[in-house]
Symmetry: C2
């Protein structure tokens, strides 16, 4: 079972605030195993392998690795390339030339599929390779995981933003719409619910891609909250769809931009927020309506991470190496929740994770489809970190009126 050779580590897809914790977890753990003779980093994911754009990560200082671990976004840069057979041939030329026997790929759904493809190619070729997918995604949509590294920190950002927005809107009134990332899974949008502390706190409404979005129902929901509180704070997933499954934003967009995988790009502009804000203004005749699209700010904001997320991201990296070397396995490292709150790590066959999407289970969404349940709150709270900033309200007693005496 002993397989001796070099390891290559790479990062794919969108960045997170803790993706480099996993990178450093892999590097540090790999250095503890003599089976791994050297740890290379490939620059820009699989592109770096094909181009032989490799760096020797065993020639890094401990201090710098620790600082890199605290730095958001892929330190080895990233790619959206998903290899086909011809691309795999190029990958394996390089793996063989450098005697690489361990492949660690930190990424989301697309990256897990890359690991599957590489793994299958290795079997066909008869090349002994341990290929491990190390999970990361702010979307929290990887199958087989209770949650994914990167989600907790992005969720914490969303929660802290909505805590501020709540207080802002309480002070000045009106309607606020915040558009959150998450194309198919509403986990990140749902995390806004963690901002609720005092009665009347928002978000008062939450719309997820797991439920059909209907504009008339939405307007009625908003009006009901606004009439009661004089304000309404709303969290909306960028990926909300109508009854036919068509993304609300694409219905109103001028031109569609396709990404490398043929997905329509729905991030990186304010179209959905503008659409909802304008509709509220026009139909409900409310003057102060604000819409923000959280966009790229939410996924690798510097210096505001969940410590729980950070620690787990480090551990999935360590476990990836242990599974590969000590157990001789390939596959996808997964996080399993075993207590309140405690986790353990398992490795699943890559086919059970690769390219599949986990969405919010029904138990996390309310019947009306415009909010989350308390079960979701139980799920999310430990992921946000142990040092959640406090908020407080003035509780001073009212002064008796002299001029405008109460009757």
């Amino acid at each position: 079972m002993t397989l001796i050779g070099k390891a290559v580590v790479a990062q794919g897809g969108g960045p997170t605030a803790v993706i480099n914790q996993s990178l450093v977890g892999i590097i540090e753990e790999a250095k503890r195993h003599p089976e791994i003779t050297r740890v290379y980093g490939a620059i820009r994911g699989v592109e770096g392998i094909v181009n032989e754009d490799l760096v020797d990560l065993t020639q890094e200082t401990t201090r710098n690795l620790n600082d890199v671990a605290m730095t958001p976004s892929s330190a080895l840069l990233s790619t959206r390339v998903r290899p086909d057979k011809a691309y795999c041939r190029e990958i394996f030329k390089v793996l063989k030339a450098h005697e690489i026997r361990y492949f660690f790929y930190i990424g989301g759904n697309d990256s897990s599929d890359t690991v599957r493809i590489v793994n299958e190619y290795a079997e066909v070729e008869g090349y002994a390779l341990r290929a491990i997918h190390v999970p990361k995604t702010i979307d929290n949509d990887l199958l087989g995981n209770d949650h994914t590294p990167g989600y907790g920190s992005a969720a914490r950002f969303v929660m802290q933003a909505f805590s501020g927005i709540n207080l802002d809107m309480k002070a000045l009134g009106g309607i606020y719409v915040g558009i959150i990332m998450g194309r198919h899974a509403g986990f990140l949008t749902a995390s806004a619910s963690a901002a609720r502390k005092f009665p009347g706190d928002g978000p008062h409404l939450i719309y997820l891609p797991e439920r059909h979005f209907d504009m008339e129902t939405f307007l009625a929901d908003v009006k009901r909250v606004y009439d009661r509180l004089g304000r309404c704070v709303i969290a909306v997933s960028e990926g909300i769809v109508d009854a036919e499954g068509v993304a609300i934003v694409t219905k109103h967009m001028k031109s569609l931009e396709l990404d490398a995988h043929g997905n329509v790009n729905i991030s990186g502009n304010g179209a959905l927020g503008n659409l909802l804000a304008e509709t509220i203004k026009a139909k409900l005749n409310i003057k102060r309506v604000r819409a923000d699209t959280f966009g790229y700010i939410q996924r690798c904001f510097l210096g505001n991470v969940s410590d729980v997320d950070q620690e787990e991201a480090r551990e999935v990296g360590e476990k990836a190496v242990q599974f590969a070397v000590r157990q001789g396995k390939s596959g996808s490292v997964c996080i399993e929740r075993i207590g309140n709150y405690a986790v353990q790590y398992t490795i699943l066959p890559i086919q059970e994770v690769a390219g599949l999407t986990q969405t919010m289970p029904d138990k996390f969404i309310n019947v009306q489809g415009n909010d989350v349940t308390s079960e979701f709150r139980e799920y999310i709270m430990p992921l946000l970190g142990t040092d959640i900033p406090k908020t407080a309200v003035i509780r001073a007693p009212k002064v008796a009126k002299i001029i405008h005496k109460e009757k």
Copy 2:
């Protein structure tokens, strides 16, 4: 000079992350002066005075006040009302009925003008009142101040966001446009420059309302950076104007139909970001172009403040009470920088601050008008706080190529 009576404190205008530090500074300091017999809080700024919507802040616990101080956004809620003579009459009815002799108003330009109006009315009426304006604004545009409480924390948010964006865009490439608040003053937009650490770090271009914005020059700037780096990170003030002083967003709204609905409003939405992103896509033929409007997230994000800002916001509150009681003054509390880095507090006649706008001095803006100077960097750095999160890059040596041998 001794003036005995109650004090009323209120908050006006947009919120900041540290506005309640000033509130609590006022309350705690007022309790130390027997001249102030009670400290009332008016709910929703001057509206709370007129409506006698008052709470007794001397009946608050220390713990809760400390927690309120750490909470963003006006704890006493806010207003956009600026009193006229009739409104002042109503204010003074209440001040007299409750024997209020001290008026502390925490706010920006409009609130300072309210203090001026109230002050003038008191003189005309011959009613002994000390009216003090306590500064706050994320825009940093109050005259007479080196900087204003609230700015440092908002600037820190913008800096941390751009640090993350830098890393994100480095990993995936393309163009990023971040739209920052500040209609007339570019200070907050300029703070994005503090995100630069390593060579090649952005923002590579910064556009401020103090300089005329020309679309052709902008596109040429962007192209130059993109051709060199394969990415370009841009910070743009929401208030940029053309040579005629017309806001870019309104100007292009008429000619360019950005939103499929054609009913886009110019504030509290992503219109300017979309306009710039669409223009870059169309004219420079670059595919990955992303625009985020920082909007309301940047001004009272929970739990990520500058400690320097926090401490100064507390001190301006304390000093307001000391100036009013110990020196018998009315006016506007100002922050003066007396060292690198040290401040002291002065009180200016309200007329020298009220309703006036400070913009970025020429020495802070480069000749081309698309960046800040190193003098600005010296100015901003101490305001961001003492514990700036670190970033690091991989510095591992390249691995010699075997297949694609260098010639």
